[in-house]
């Protein structure tokens, strides 16, 4: 793979880099999958170069990431697909500013995330990233509306909590506490909480992992709606290959490496999915 890492990369430069990279990826894909033309994409939001991550678990070193080069482009819907232990969560955590790589660099637009300290990363998460977790992680002592308000209280240009909840079809349960909501409903509140700040990226880690098919599809539908209506760059982690059919691009991972990027010619809507 061509090394394109630079210490400082301008946005316009990144667009060019992106095109090269895409071409490169397509070349690889052409060997593994059917080549498809790339969809119309915006500027580069993330650019990772040579990212490795090694955890020291006692006496053993665990290599979670073994040299990742990738981009996320504005407005796209990406699925990171892979079995458990493939490194996809580690990658997402690094992109989301929850973790730092052992080596390599990560750029968020024109800033190098790897240079941020803890306070800088906190501000980055606060202002730019929306997280959705497998286990919802709602605050049990706050109602749906208040869980969302928790974010809108501290964000720079938030939407109204009710508006965010309307996006995920939760208008009828604004004043319910988490204990009074089903898993799917809780996850939709979590999505509303993630998007209420109008984040630049929405990062979802196995958002349907704890849900049955039916509610899972409702949740994916909500995520897809956010992506298409708000244009929020969205990355979803899953080990469920069916979900990949919703994506603009599918990045497949195993053993800490990206072993394939697939551009979907036609995306399917969440309601069309079945597993």
């Amino acid at each position: 793979m061509v090394s394109l890492a630079r210490p400082k990369v301008s946005a316009t430069h990144l667009v060019r880099v992106r095109q090269k990279a895409l071409a490169c990826n397509n070349a690889i894909m052409s060997r593994t999958a059917t080549a498809v033309p790339p969809p119309i994409l915006g500027e580069t939001v993330f650019a990772a170069r040579g990212v490795t991550k090694t955890y020291h678990m006692g006496e053993v070193d665990v290599h979670a990431l073994r040299g990742i080069d990738m981009e996320l482009f504005a407005g796209e819907f990406v699925v990171l697909l892979g079995p458990s232990g493939s490194g996809k969560s580690t990658l997402l955590n690094i992109l989301g500013g929850l973790d730092v790589p052992s080596a390599g660099s990560v750029h968020y637009r024109d800033k190098e995330l790897t240079n941020f300290d803890d306070a800088g990363l906190t501000q980055y998460r606060r202002n730019h990233v929306g997280f959705v977790f497998q286990f919802y992680n709602l605050i049990p002592s706050l109602t749906a509306r208040e869980n969302v308000a928790l974010i809108t209280d501290i964000a720079k240009n938030p939407m109204d909590p009710a508006e965010a909840l309307a996006l995920v079809d939760m208008t009828h349960r604004l004043d319910h506490f988490p204990a009074q909501l089903s898993g799917g409903e809780q996850q939709r509140v979590a999505i509303a909480r993630a998007v209420a700040k109008r984040p630049d990226v929405l990062l979802c880690d196995e958002p349907t992992g704890a849900l049955d098919v039916h509610t899972g599809i409702l949740v994916l539908d909500a995520i897809q709606k956010i992506n298409s209506e708000l244009g929020t760059t969205t990355a979803v982690i899953t080990h469920n290959a069916v979900i990949a059919e919703m994506a603009d691009r599918v990045i497949s991972m195993s053993d800490g490496r990206i072993h394939g990027v697939q551009v979907n010619k036609t995306k399917r809507t969440a309601s069309e999915l079945e597993w």
């Binding site: 969560s89 998460r125 606060r126 497998q134 286990f135 992680n137 706050l142 209280d153 204990a179 993630a194």
Partner: protein, 788 residues
Amino acid sequence: MLTSLDRKLVRDLTQRLGQVTMIALVVSAGVATFINSRTMLFSLENTRAAFYERHNFAHVFATLKRAPDALAERLAEIPGVQRLETRIVEAVNLDVPGLDQPAVGQIISLPVNRRPLVNQIYLRRGRWLAPGRSDEVLVIEKFVQENKLDLGDKVTAIINGRRKDLQIVGVVLSPEFVFQMKPGDMVPDAKHFGVFWMDHEALSMAFDMEGAFNHAAATLMRGASEADVIQRFDQLIDPYGGTGAYGRRDQLSHLLLESDIQGLRSTGLIAPTIFLGVAAFLLNVVLARLLSLQRDQIAALKAFGYSNFAIGWHYLKFVLLIVIVGSILGSFMGARLGYIFTEMIARVYQYPELLIQVRPSVIASAVSVAGGASILGALGAVVRAVRVPPAEAMRPEPPSSYGPTILERLGFGRFLPAVARMVLRHLERRPVKTSVSILAIGLSIGIVVVGNFIEDAIDFVLHTQFHRVQQYDMAVTSVEPLSTDVAYELANMPGVMQAQPMRTVSTRIRSGHRTRRVGLTGLPTGGDLQRLIDHHGSVYPMPPGGLVVSRKLADVLRIEVGDVLRVEVLEDKRPVLELPVVSLLDDVQGLNAYISLDELNRAMMQGPRASGVLLTVDPAKRTEVYHALKQIPKLAGVTVKDNAIESFKNTLAKNLGEMKKINLFFAIVIAVGVVYNGAQISLSERSRELATLRVIGFTRGEISAILLGELGTMTLIAIPFGIIMGYWFSAFLALFMDQEVFRFPLIIERSTFGMAVSVVLAASVVSGLIVRRELDHLDLIAVLKSRE
């Protein structure tokens, strides 16, 4: 051999070392205060009982003017009397080498060639009196110590108007003077009040009491009625100027010892109860949390075939280990404190030896009470946890249910930021736990308040007594009532600025069937040197027209202002008076009654007489006045106000200071124990929540606000409660100490509240900060992957 389950236990304990240590400390405080208080009580009781027993301390005492020795036989024949001794007791003025101020003493006669039958003395050093030597005395130990005297030294006494040198040949102790205090004093002042024993013959000659006695004391047979004996005594001594026989409970030294012991008996278990209650509560919450964290482990153990009992026992062992550690620590602390405190309290007593013994039975009961309370605290949580069927326990606990708080239901919700709602809802969801936590934090405030209250009250008492009531510098008392001219003579002495006569007679005051022995004091109407104080704290001079009595005396006799009392004077012509009560006195010591001096003298059918004179003295000429007073015959005693204040500072104030430190320490243990554990549990319960907030962009400061907000809210709510509790504790203590001997006014300085609140706030802040540091190590990633 440790089983695997035991290994798990050890690891569970070490993982929570901070919390476990705090709880063990609270347990140890409970065990220590229990052992300390019981050890003090039993040691003081035993020491006293042994001393009384070995030295035949009398049960009944009688003072009279002068009775022939023949009366002794008749007294001894009173049914119920076991042993009787008659003797001569006289008050003398002393001139002690090295002591500028006048001192007074009591000289007691000792039978020649035999030991007295009752109230035997203990010879600490030196030798007994040689027969026939009229210049030898045995002297009570404290007086010798305080004045740095030694065997062979001489003290000059003014005996019957003549100066006489007395040589100290022995240093002694007496069951009658374990607490050596001059009647009428507020604090013991052993330096200026000595007790001497002298050959009976020599003393009777010196006081012209040959063939006569003026004091009798008797021990009673087992089962004899004290009241009957006293009544018969009175019948026999009345014609000889008897001032009424009395039992031990009116004997000054015994009375003071008893009031100390009674205090320990009644209030001694309050502190241990508080500590063990708090410990039980802490064990309950910590264990409940542990069990909820280990819900799946319990399920797994059950699935493997462990019985409910085995699992329950496993968790109870967790509690018992903490109790054992706390008990061992507490036992050592308690035993040590028991020694220190008993010795400290006994500093004012005089015993041949202190029989301090930490009884194994006391330790055993302390430990079993601690164990019992802790198991009670833990049992509920354990039973709840092991009862859950394994399949259900394998599933995660359902999310906690929350609802709007009462504030929000009342419509104040919109004023609350989200963080405040989280904190309040969390607190309201577990009302019992929250209330007990608040109560416990409040308790620690209360403990500090009550510890300082005693000091505040004593400061107030001293200030009132020495600066507002007593306007004199010295009180001079005479052996016999003298003409009030004495006051004028004294007033003309160089250095004396003001002099005011007074007179005290012993009386028995009756209202219906209730009766008390009271010294009735006559003060000149409008006299300014000794003033009276009412319950508003305002002072006023003696009014005319009747009696002013202690509020406590009015309580005891169940009378009010306006009621008429029957006052039986026990001196001279023994008139019986009917006098109205014109005002009540909020004094702090003893039962007192005052009347105008003129009325008293009229009632006694005598001209102007005084038994004492109050003086104010030019500070520059004090020594001259002291010197002059020493030369005046017929003066029974001089009390110098400054000596009393100084003596107080050297004894009681020291003890109070020590106790205050211990109180403070224990209050901090409780406050830190409760707040630290609360914070730890909060952190454990909410780590996932807090980590989520961190992930979605909250700063460390912001999530700390949530965690510490909870503690802060509880602490803030606890403050007013703590202040109220402190006030009520103090009121309760004041009520308890509202005795005939001594009373505490309910005075709590604002600074006391301020200090209590600051101590507890500081303890909370420190505990909060310790836990806050752990927030920095929250694993943000683990929380995303885990379910609770």
